[in-house]
Protein backbone atom coordinates (compact mmCIF):
# COMPACT_ATOMS: atom_id res chain seq x y z
CA UNK A 1 0.00 0.00 0.00
CA UNK A 2 1.55 3.32 -1.02
CA UNK A 3 1.66 6.44 1.16
CA UNK A 4 -1.38 8.12 -0.45
CA UNK A 5 -3.55 5.04 -0.01
CA UNK A 6 -2.32 4.68 3.57
CA UNK A 7 -3.25 8.33 4.33
CA UNK A 8 -6.66 7.81 2.74
CA UNK A 9 -7.36 4.69 4.82
CA UNK A 10 -6.24 6.48 7.99
CA UNK A 11 -8.46 9.46 7.20
CA UNK A 12 -11.43 7.12 6.66
CA UNK A 13 -10.77 5.33 9.95
CA UNK A 14 -10.53 8.63 11.82
CA UNK A 15 -13.77 9.81 10.21
CA UNK A 16 -15.56 6.58 11.13
CA UNK A 17 -14.30 6.82 14.71
CA UNK A 18 -15.54 10.41 14.91
CA UNK A 19 -18.94 9.33 13.61
CA UNK A 20 -19.09 6.46 16.14
CA UNK A 21 -18.22 8.87 18.95
CA UNK A 22 -20.87 11.36 17.83
CA UNK A 23 -23.52 8.65 17.49
CA UNK A 24 -22.80 7.45 21.02
CA UNK A 25 -23.45 11.02 22.20
CA UNK A 26 -26.54 11.19 19.97
CA UNK A 27 -25.19 14.44 18.62
CA UNK A 28 -28.03 16.04 16.57
CA UNK A 29 -25.62 18.27 14.62
CA UNK A 30 -23.64 15.25 13.48
CA UNK A 31 -26.86 13.53 12.45
CA UNK A 32 -27.96 16.60 10.48
CA UNK A 33 -24.63 16.52 8.69
CA UNK A 34 -24.86 12.78 8.00
CA UNK A 35 -28.43 13.07 6.70
CA UNK A 36 -27.28 15.71 4.23
CA UNK A 37 -24.16 13.80 3.26
CA UNK A 38 -25.88 10.48 2.55
CA UNK A 39 -29.26 11.83 1.40
CA UNK A 40 -29.04 10.93 -2.28
CA UNK A 41 -27.20 7.63 -1.84
CA UNK A 42 -29.59 6.31 0.79
CA UNK A 43 -32.71 7.41 -1.06
CA UNK A 44 -31.41 5.93 -4.31
CA UNK A 45 -30.73 2.60 -2.58
CA UNK A 46 -34.15 2.56 -0.92
CA UNK A 47 -35.87 3.56 -4.12
CA UNK A 48 -34.24 0.70 -5.99
CA UNK A 49 -35.10 -1.65 -3.14
CA UNK A 50 -38.73 -0.66 -2.84
CA UNK A 51 -39.51 0.78 -6.28
CA UNK A 52 -41.87 3.38 -4.77
CA UNK A 53 -40.96 6.92 -3.95
CA UNK A 54 -43.33 7.38 -0.96
CA UNK A 55 -42.28 4.08 0.56
CA UNK A 56 -38.61 4.90 0.02
CA UNK A 57 -39.08 8.30 1.68
CA UNK A 58 -40.80 6.69 4.69
CA UNK A 59 -37.96 4.22 5.04
CA UNK A 60 -35.47 7.06 4.61
CA UNK A 61 -36.87 8.80 7.69
CA UNK A 62 -37.19 5.60 9.70
CA UNK A 63 -33.61 4.66 8.86
CA UNK A 64 -32.28 7.87 10.41
CA UNK A 65 -34.47 7.45 13.49
CA UNK A 66 -33.02 3.94 13.83
CA UNK A 67 -29.49 5.33 13.36
CA UNK A 68 -30.14 7.70 16.25
CA UNK A 69 -31.59 5.01 18.50
CA UNK A 70 -28.99 2.34 17.73
CA UNK A 71 -26.03 4.62 17.16
CA UNK A 72 -24.21 3.06 20.08
CA UNK A 73 -23.93 -0.19 18.17
CA UNK A 74 -21.74 1.42 15.49
CA UNK A 75 -18.11 1.04 16.52
CA UNK A 76 -16.41 2.68 13.55
CA UNK A 77 -14.62 -0.48 12.42
CA UNK A 78 -16.65 -0.64 9.21
CA UNK A 79 -17.60 2.06 6.77
CA UNK A 80 -20.51 4.12 8.10
CA UNK A 81 -22.30 3.80 4.76
CA UNK A 82 -22.24 -0.01 5.00
CA UNK A 83 -23.81 0.14 8.47
CA UNK A 84 -26.36 2.72 7.32
CA UNK A 85 -27.41 0.66 4.31
CA UNK A 86 -27.67 -2.46 6.48
CA UNK A 87 -30.12 -0.65 8.77
CA UNK A 88 -32.15 0.52 5.77
CA UNK A 89 -32.17 -2.97 4.32
CA UNK A 90 -33.28 -4.55 7.60
CA UNK A 91 -36.10 -2.03 7.89
CA UNK A 92 -37.38 -2.94 4.44
CA UNK A 93 -37.16 -6.66 5.21
CA UNK A 94 -38.94 -6.17 8.58
CA UNK A 95 -41.68 -4.25 6.79
CA UNK A 96 -42.11 -7.08 4.29
CA UNK A 97 -42.18 -9.68 7.05
CA UNK A 98 -44.93 -7.75 8.83
CA UNK A 99 -46.88 -7.49 5.60
CA UNK A 100 -46.47 -11.18 4.80
CA UNK A 101 -43.82 -13.78 5.49
CA UNK A 102 -41.38 -13.00 2.71
CA UNK A 103 -37.86 -12.08 1.76
CA UNK A 104 -36.41 -9.38 -0.46
CA UNK A 105 -37.64 -11.37 -3.49
CA UNK A 106 -41.21 -10.19 -3.01
CA UNK A 107 -40.12 -6.64 -3.80
CA UNK A 108 -39.61 -7.64 -7.40
CA UNK A 109 -43.37 -7.70 -7.90
CA UNK A 110 -44.14 -4.83 -5.55
CA UNK A 111 -41.74 -2.56 -7.32
CA UNK A 112 -43.93 -2.08 -10.39
CA UNK A 113 -44.66 0.46 -11.70
CA UNK A 114 -41.43 2.25 -11.03
CA UNK A 115 -41.18 5.75 -9.62
CA UNK A 116 -37.54 6.00 -10.53
CA UNK A 117 -37.14 9.14 -12.59
CA UNK A 118 -35.32 9.08 -15.86
CA UNK A 119 -34.81 12.68 -16.75
CA UNK A 120 -31.87 14.44 -18.32
CA UNK A 121 -30.80 18.04 -18.44
CA UNK A 122 -28.93 17.78 -21.76
CA UNK A 123 -30.47 19.14 -24.91
CA UNK A 124 -31.35 17.90 -28.41
CA UNK A 125 -30.25 14.50 -29.70
CA UNK A 126 -27.88 13.52 -26.85
CA UNK A 127 -30.53 14.28 -24.28
CA UNK A 128 -33.06 12.15 -26.09
CA UNK A 129 -30.67 9.22 -26.44
CA UNK A 130 -29.58 9.44 -22.83
CA UNK A 131 -33.13 9.75 -21.57
CA UNK A 132 -34.10 6.72 -23.60
CA UNK A 133 -31.18 4.74 -22.20
CA UNK A 134 -32.00 5.70 -18.63
CA UNK A 135 -35.66 4.88 -19.09
CA UNK A 136 -34.78 1.50 -20.52
CA UNK A 137 -32.30 0.72 -17.76
CA UNK A 138 -34.71 1.95 -15.08
CA UNK A 139 -37.42 -0.23 -16.55
CA UNK A 140 -35.02 -3.16 -16.80
CA UNK A 141 -33.95 -2.67 -13.18
CA UNK A 142 -37.56 -2.96 -12.06
CA UNK A 143 -37.99 -6.21 -13.92
CA UNK A 144 -34.99 -8.09 -12.59
CA UNK A 145 -35.01 -9.93 -9.24
CA UNK A 146 -34.72 -7.65 -6.19
CA UNK A 147 -31.51 -9.26 -4.94
CA UNK A 148 -29.83 -8.75 -8.34
CA UNK A 149 -31.06 -5.16 -8.42
CA UNK A 150 -29.73 -4.52 -4.94
CA UNK A 151 -26.29 -5.94 -5.77
CA UNK A 152 -26.07 -3.89 -8.97
CA UNK A 153 -27.05 -0.67 -7.19
CA UNK A 154 -24.55 -1.23 -4.40
CA UNK A 155 -21.78 -2.15 -6.79
CA UNK A 156 -22.20 0.33 -9.63
CA UNK A 157 -24.11 3.23 -8.12
CA UNK A 158 -22.70 3.19 -4.60
CA UNK A 159 -19.28 1.96 -5.68
CA UNK A 160 -19.05 -0.59 -2.86
CA UNK A 161 -16.50 -3.38 -2.92
CA UNK A 162 -17.67 -6.97 -3.21
CA UNK A 163 -16.70 -7.59 0.43
CA UNK A 164 -18.74 -4.59 1.60
CA UNK A 165 -21.78 -5.84 -0.31
CA UNK A 166 -21.33 -9.30 1.20
CA UNK A 167 -21.19 -7.78 4.71
CA UNK A 168 -24.20 -5.57 4.10
CA UNK A 169 -26.41 -8.24 2.61
CA UNK A 170 -25.14 -11.02 4.88
CA UNK A 171 -24.41 -13.29 1.92
CA UNK A 172 -21.24 -15.14 0.91
CA UNK A 173 -18.85 -13.38 -1.48
CA UNK A 174 -19.49 -15.98 -4.19
CA UNK A 175 -23.22 -15.26 -4.05
CA UNK A 176 -22.60 -11.54 -4.43
CA UNK A 177 -20.42 -12.15 -7.48
CA UNK A 178 -23.01 -14.44 -8.95
CA UNK A 179 -25.81 -11.92 -8.33
CA UNK A 180 -23.88 -9.14 -10.05
CA UNK A 181 -23.11 -11.34 -13.01
CA UNK A 182 -26.67 -12.61 -13.30
CA UNK A 183 -28.09 -9.11 -12.76
CA UNK A 184 -26.00 -7.69 -15.59
CA UNK A 185 -26.94 -10.61 -17.80
CA UNK A 186 -30.62 -9.99 -17.00
CA UNK A 187 -30.19 -6.31 -17.94
CA UNK A 188 -28.56 -7.17 -21.26
CA UNK A 189 -31.81 -7.40 -23.29
CA UNK A 190 -32.85 -3.97 -22.01
CA UNK A 191 -29.56 -2.43 -23.03
CA UNK A 192 -29.76 -4.10 -26.43
CA UNK A 193 -33.25 -2.67 -26.79
CA UNK A 194 -31.76 0.81 -26.60
CA UNK A 195 -28.96 0.26 -29.05
Amino acid sequence: MNATACCFVNAMTVENTEIARGLRRRDPDLLDHLIEKYQHRLLRYLLHLTGRRELAEDFFQETWIRVLERGRQYDGRYEFSTWLFTIARNLVIDHLRRKRPASLDSLADDALPSDIPATAELSAFDATVQREQKEQISAGMQHIAAEYRESLVLRFQEGMSLEEIATLTGTPLGTVKSRIYRGLSALEPWVKGVR
Binding site: Q39, F156, V191
Partner: protein, 169 residues
Protein backbone atom coordinates in the same frame (compact mmCIF):
# COMPACT_ATOMS: atom_id res chain seq x y z
CA UNK B 1 -10.83 -14.19 -8.43
CA UNK B 2 -12.18 -17.39 -6.92
CA UNK B 3 -15.78 -18.08 -7.60
CA UNK B 4 -17.84 -21.10 -8.49
CA UNK B 5 -18.73 -19.44 -11.74
CA UNK B 6 -15.08 -19.53 -12.72
CA UNK B 7 -15.05 -23.28 -12.92
CA UNK B 8 -17.29 -23.38 -15.99
CA UNK B 9 -16.47 -22.86 -19.69
CA UNK B 10 -14.22 -20.03 -20.96
CA UNK B 11 -17.16 -17.89 -22.16
CA UNK B 12 -18.82 -18.07 -18.76
CA UNK B 13 -15.48 -17.29 -17.12
CA UNK B 14 -14.97 -14.29 -19.40
CA UNK B 15 -18.49 -12.96 -18.71
CA UNK B 16 -18.05 -13.25 -14.96
CA UNK B 17 -14.76 -11.37 -15.20
CA UNK B 18 -16.42 -8.65 -17.28
CA UNK B 19 -19.29 -8.33 -14.81
CA UNK B 20 -16.96 -8.12 -11.81
CA UNK B 21 -14.46 -5.89 -13.52
CA UNK B 22 -13.47 -3.91 -10.42
CA UNK B 23 -9.75 -3.27 -10.36
CA UNK B 24 -9.31 -5.09 -7.07
CA UNK B 25 -10.97 -8.26 -8.29
CA UNK B 26 -9.05 -9.17 -11.45
CA UNK B 27 -5.33 -9.94 -11.55
CA UNK B 28 -3.09 -8.83 -14.41
CA UNK B 29 -2.81 -12.40 -15.67
CA UNK B 30 -6.59 -12.77 -15.74
CA UNK B 31 -6.93 -9.43 -17.48
CA UNK B 32 -4.52 -10.53 -20.23
CA UNK B 33 -6.44 -13.77 -20.63
CA UNK B 34 -9.70 -11.82 -20.87
CA UNK B 35 -8.30 -9.43 -23.47
CA UNK B 36 -7.12 -12.37 -25.57
CA UNK B 37 -10.48 -14.10 -25.25
CA UNK B 38 -12.40 -10.96 -26.25
CA UNK B 39 -10.22 -10.65 -29.34
CA UNK B 40 -11.40 -14.02 -30.55
CA UNK B 41 -15.00 -14.18 -29.25
CA UNK B 42 -17.62 -11.82 -30.75
CA UNK B 43 -20.44 -12.86 -28.41
CA UNK B 44 -18.38 -12.16 -25.27
CA UNK B 45 -17.25 -8.88 -26.87
CA UNK B 46 -20.90 -7.96 -27.33
CA UNK B 47 -21.63 -8.90 -23.71
CA UNK B 48 -18.71 -6.71 -22.59
CA UNK B 49 -20.09 -3.81 -24.59
CA UNK B 50 -23.62 -4.19 -23.25
CA UNK B 51 -22.29 -4.57 -19.70
CA UNK B 52 -20.29 -1.36 -20.07
CA UNK B 53 -23.41 0.34 -21.37
CA UNK B 54 -25.51 -1.01 -18.47
CA UNK B 55 -23.00 0.21 -15.90
CA UNK B 56 -22.73 3.62 -17.57
CA UNK B 57 -26.52 3.96 -17.65
CA UNK B 58 -26.87 2.78 -14.05
CA UNK B 59 -24.46 5.48 -12.94
CA UNK B 60 -26.41 8.11 -14.86
CA UNK B 61 -29.83 7.48 -13.27
CA UNK B 62 -30.53 10.71 -11.37
CA UNK B 63 -32.22 10.27 -8.00
CA UNK B 64 -32.18 13.13 -5.57
CA UNK B 65 -33.77 13.63 -2.19
CA UNK B 66 -36.00 16.70 -1.93
CA UNK B 67 -35.19 19.52 0.49
CA UNK B 68 -38.54 18.90 2.19
CA UNK B 69 -37.64 15.26 2.88
CA UNK B 70 -34.29 16.27 4.36
CA UNK B 71 -35.73 18.97 6.61
CA UNK B 72 -38.57 16.69 7.78
CA UNK B 73 -36.10 13.92 8.55
CA UNK B 74 -33.78 16.27 10.42
CA UNK B 75 -36.71 17.62 12.43
CA UNK B 76 -37.95 14.13 13.34
CA UNK B 77 -34.47 13.00 14.32
CA UNK B 78 -34.01 16.05 16.55
CA UNK B 79 -37.39 15.50 18.18
CA UNK B 80 -36.61 11.84 18.83
CA UNK B 81 -33.16 12.78 20.19
CA UNK B 82 -34.87 15.11 22.64
CA UNK B 83 -37.27 12.38 23.74
CA UNK B 84 -34.44 9.92 24.25
CA UNK B 85 -32.53 12.51 26.24
CA UNK B 86 -35.58 13.10 28.46
CA UNK B 87 -35.99 9.34 28.94
CA UNK B 88 -32.37 9.03 30.00
CA UNK B 89 -32.74 11.92 32.42
CA UNK B 90 -35.88 10.37 33.92
CA UNK B 91 -34.09 7.04 34.21
CA UNK B 92 -31.23 8.61 36.21
CA UNK B 93 -33.66 10.52 38.44
CA UNK B 94 -35.42 7.25 39.24
CA UNK B 95 -32.09 5.51 39.89
CA UNK B 96 -31.07 8.32 42.26
CA UNK B 97 -34.45 8.10 44.04
CA UNK B 98 -34.11 4.33 44.43
CA UNK B 99 -30.61 4.72 45.86
CA UNK B 100 -31.80 7.41 48.31
CA UNK B 101 -34.77 5.29 49.38
CA UNK B 102 -32.53 2.25 49.95
CA UNK B 103 -30.14 4.26 52.14
CA UNK B 104 -33.00 5.91 54.08
CA UNK B 105 -34.83 2.64 54.66
CA UNK B 106 -31.60 0.99 55.83
CA UNK B 107 -31.06 3.78 58.35
CA UNK B 108 -34.66 4.09 59.55
CA UNK B 109 -35.62 0.38 59.69
CA UNK B 110 -33.83 -0.22 62.99
CA UNK B 111 -35.31 2.94 64.57
CA UNK B 112 -38.81 2.16 63.32
CA UNK B 113 -38.55 -1.41 64.58
CA UNK B 114 -37.60 -0.17 68.06
CA UNK B 115 -40.43 2.38 67.99
CA UNK B 116 -42.99 -0.30 67.09
CA UNK B 117 -41.62 -2.61 69.80
CA UNK B 118 -41.94 0.19 72.36
CA UNK B 119 -45.53 1.03 71.28
CA UNK B 120 -46.45 -2.68 71.35
CA UNK B 121 -45.01 -2.98 74.85
CA UNK B 122 -46.79 0.15 76.13
CA UNK B 123 -50.14 -0.84 74.57
CA UNK B 124 -49.65 -4.50 75.53
CA UNK B 125 -50.17 -5.68 71.95
CA UNK B 126 -49.13 -9.24 71.17
CA UNK B 127 -45.84 -9.43 69.23
CA UNK B 128 -47.32 -10.57 65.85
CA UNK B 129 -49.65 -7.51 65.84
CA UNK B 130 -46.99 -4.82 66.17
CA UNK B 131 -44.67 -6.75 63.86
CA UNK B 132 -47.47 -6.87 61.24
CA UNK B 133 -48.05 -3.14 61.74
CA UNK B 134 -44.36 -2.48 61.19
CA UNK B 135 -44.34 -4.45 57.93
CA UNK B 136 -47.47 -2.64 56.64
CA UNK B 137 -46.22 0.86 57.53
CA UNK B 138 -42.73 0.08 56.24
CA UNK B 139 -43.90 -1.17 52.86
CA UNK B 140 -46.87 1.18 52.37
CA UNK B 141 -45.02 4.08 50.61
CA UNK B 142 -43.38 1.74 48.09
CA UNK B 143 -46.67 -0.07 47.40
CA UNK B 144 -48.57 3.22 46.92
CA UNK B 145 -45.93 4.66 44.59
CA UNK B 146 -45.87 1.38 42.63
CA UNK B 147 -49.66 1.44 42.18
CA UNK B 148 -49.54 5.09 41.07
CA UNK B 149 -46.80 4.42 38.53
CA UNK B 150 -48.56 1.35 37.16
CA UNK B 151 -51.83 3.25 36.79
CA UNK B 152 -50.03 5.87 34.66
CA UNK B 153 -48.30 3.31 32.46
CA UNK B 154 -44.54 2.93 32.30
CA UNK B 155 -42.66 5.51 34.34
CA UNK B 156 -40.18 6.00 31.49
CA UNK B 157 -42.80 7.00 28.93
CA UNK B 158 -43.56 10.50 27.88
CA UNK B 159 -47.04 11.45 29.04
CA UNK B 160 -47.49 14.21 26.55
CA UNK B 161 -47.70 13.46 22.80
CA UNK B 162 -45.02 10.81 22.35
CA UNK B 163 -43.01 9.99 19.25
CA UNK B 164 -44.92 6.77 18.65
CA UNK B 165 -48.27 8.58 18.65
CA UNK B 166 -46.90 11.32 16.46
CA UNK B 167 -45.42 9.00 13.84
CA UNK B 168 -48.48 6.81 13.63
CA UNK B 169 -50.85 9.71 12.98
Amino acid sequence: MNTDLMNSDPHERARVMIALSGREDVSNRERSWLAAHLESCPSCREFAESTRESIRSLRRIPITASARLISTTQMRVRQRALELQRQTERFWVICACCAAVTVCSGVTAALLWRGFAWIGQQASFPMPVWEGGFVVIYLMPAVLVGILLLSRGTFLADHDRSYQDWSSN
